[in-house]
């Protein structure tokens, strides 16, 4: 009898530990996303999959985001240790160098993540990351300073506006946030016949890159003297947005979701206008999550990945953070489809991560950024 009691007690003590795995989820995105996780996504997941718990670790800000943690996990992968990380809300699986080929990242498929089947093809760049929310970069401007008929609708009009209003436009450093990066990408597209299909994950070559970038740097260097304060590029999406909020500039490229949230919070005034270029939209992109293959709680991490692709969460992407779903609109509630009928695109134009991206950023630092401070 005593033995049975002890046995039961042990079972009771141990059972929660066995049935409740906790995944360590690292979120290095802007605060609108990590807040959305704490308040919506994680509680929803907890209800749907009670056996898995989620510990969200916020790494955004000046600390290098998820990079140090990924490096740590990759080192653990090589030595066979527990990486203490199960899920990265947003990461580029082309980093760290060589990790993808060595099998560090989980390869997503319809088998391990059933809902992967419903992801739109345009969002899939590689099977090693999970696109789950899209957003686009557009121009945010101050209606009190930019008259209705001056609002640019094409790249040329934008360039003309910037030159006509020196000091009133700025974009952020391309490696520090998508709003600046995608503005630079748009210049690269402009210089290459506005054809995003020229850039794919597999066709990177250093010579080709320097040739294609050269024309884009000409465009951006031509703009530099007309940018805010002799081209003082801010270090991130938020600092760029705050320059607009402070009235230091009157137009910036901004993430649609972040700009809308800023207007709702009163950070940007009601008089803020949003406009997209019509000749070729400023590129956007899908935020893609990654899972390290050595994750200690791989099962729960995969369940979470599956869960963010459910119509339930995808609806929340549209409603709560003003993003695009990564699954087809047809799978979302019909009233939502009707409401967003004008903005529905099944595709957000993109620029590949990996080599193209890091070469572009580095080349920008070498060729565009130095032309800034010579006058100081």
């Amino acid at each position: 009898m005593f033995r049975i009691c002890v046995g039961l007690l042990f079972l009771l003590l141990l059972s929660p530990a066995f049935s409740q795995e906790t995944i360590d989820l690292y979120n290095g995105s802007d605060t609108n996303i990590s807040d959305w996780y704490s308040n919506s996504v994680i509680p929803m997941f907890q209800q749907a999959v009670p056996e898995c718990k989620v510990n969200q670790v916020i790494t955004g800000g000046g600390a290098g985001g998820n990079d140090p943690i990924v490096d740590r996990a990759y080192a653990a992968f090589k030595t066979g240790d527990d990486p203490k990380a199960d899920y990265f809300e947003q990461f580029d699986p082309f980093r760290p160098v060589g990790a993808m080929d060595e099998g560090f990242w989980v390869e997503f498929s319809n088998d391990n993540v059933p809902n992967y089947a419903s992801v739109v093809d345009a969002a899939k760049e590689t099977p090693y990351n999970l696109p789950y929310r899209g957003s686009q970069v557009l121009l945010a401007y101050d209606k009190t300073k930019v008259a209705e008929d001056e609002v640019p609708h094409t790249w040329d009009e934008l360039v003309a506006w910037i030159k006509a209003n020196p000091g009133e436009f700025i974009y952020g450093r391309p490696d520090r946030g998508g709003s600046g990066r995608n503005f630079v990408v748009r210049a690269v597209h402009e210089a290459n016949g506005r054809d995003p299909s020229l850039f794919t994950v597999d066709n990177f070559e250093a010579d080709l890159a320097s040739e294609r970038f050269a024309a884009a740097w000409e465009i951006l260097n031509d703009l530099a003297p007309y940018l805010y304060d002799n081209a003082s590029y801010p270090a991130g999406n938020t600092p760029t947005l705050q320059l607009l909020a402070q009235g230091a500039v009157s137009m910036i490229p901004a993430w649609s979701d972040q700009a809308i949230q800023a207007i709702n919070l009163g950070v940007l005034p009601e008089s803020t206008g949003l406009v997209q270029l019509e000749d070729l939209p400023l590129v956007g992109g899908y935020a893609t999550s990654t899972i390290p293959s050595n994750a200690a709680n791989l099962d729960c991490a995969l369940k979470f990945a599956d869960f963010v692709l459910t119509p339930e969460v995808q609806t929340s992407v549209v409603e709560e953070i003003g993003g695009f779903p990564a699954i087809s609109w047809d799978l979302l509630p019909s009233e939502l489809q009707a409401k967003f009928a004008d903005v529905i695109t099944n595709q957000v134009p993109d620029f590949p991560g990996g080599d193209w991206n890091s070469a572009m950023n580095d080349s920008w630092y070498e060729n565009v950024a130095p032309n800034v401070n010579r006058n100081d």
Binding site: I69, T238, A262, V267
Partner: protein
């Protein structure tokens, strides 16, 4: 009137004071103003709308309230452990002649110059092997390394400065070595050691790089939590409120420190 006359006696002091005040306190004033504003649009000199609206919102975050006691505890542990291992070493450096003492003492300064960020990843790998990642012990160890320089150098100088004739006199009249240390040596070095403890505590409390790489996901200290909130927030007020909050422990220490630091003991530690 006497007040003015006293001021007039020291014109140079007033100039220095005002200039320093603008430079040092100016930035802090703008943080305080932001923390108590609801709206502040350019070109208004002061916030256009005052209020505490954002304070309540900031402190709704449970993680901040959990992190504060944890961070204080870790900083206390680091400071105490650092004192336990470094003060005897400082005593040895100051009072015992041994081969290579100069080399060992300077090695603490030299290694301090190696850029940390590359090292932390290598250390993280070692800690992964030892199962120290995401534990309090791991965070304490990594932060301890950063405290060695101050905790050894400042007390070493203080021990060197102790008046030995007093000690010898006490020994001559038959006092035990321990008693001499406790009653004569220690009181003379207390100010410098307090200063070193203070610097160690403040430095540890605000350390982020090591705390991120070794502490996450289990151990989240205040500065790690706030780093993202301060510079990544759309709402400027959140950052201002968090900055003020994060600064409270410092403010308390500053009040304590006035007595310690006004003695010129601290600087001697850097070998002046």
């Amino acid at each position: 009137m006497t007040f003015l006359r006293r001021l007039a006696k020291d014109p140079f002091g007033i100039v220095i004071f005002i200039a320093l005040f603008l430079f040092i306190i100016g930035p802090m004033i703008s943080v305080v103003l932001w923390a108590f504003s609801i709206q502040w649009r350019y070109p208004s000199l002061l916030p256009t709308e005052w209020g505490l609206k954002f304070w309540a919102q900031t402190f709704k975050r449970a993680d901040i309230l959990q992190a504060l006691p944890l961070t204080l505890m870790i900083s206390f542990i680091v400071t105490i452990v650092s004192a336990i291992i470094c003060l005897p070493a400082a005593y040895a450096f100051a009072r015992i002649k041994f081969r290579g003492s100069q080399f060992f003492l300077l090695s603490f300064l030299a290694t301090n110059a190696f850029p940390r960020f590359g090292l932390y990843i290598t250390i993280a790998v070692i800690f992964l092997k030892l199962n120290l990642i995401s534990t309090i012990l791991g965070v304490v160890l990594i932060q301890l390394v950063n405290t060695l320089l101050f905790m050894i150098w400042i007390p070493t100088a203080a021990f060197k400065g102790v008046d030995k004739s007093l000690e010898e006199a006490a020994l001559d009249v038959g006092a035990s070595r321990f008693r001499v240390f406790w009653q004569i040596t220690l009181p003379q070095v207390i100010p410098a050691i307090s200063a070193a403890l203070l610097l160690t505590f403040v430095g540890t409390f605000y350390e982020t790089q090591g705390a991120i790489l070794i502490g996450l996901p289990g151990i989240r200290t205040m500065p790690v939590l706030m780093l993202s909130l301060i510079n990544n927030q759309l709402v400027v007020q959140y950052g201002a409120i968090l900055s003020l909050t994060l600064w409270i422990p410092s403010l308390i220490l500053l009040l304590f420190a006035r007595r310690v630091l006004s003695g010129k003991t601290l600087a001697a530690g850097f070998g002046v």
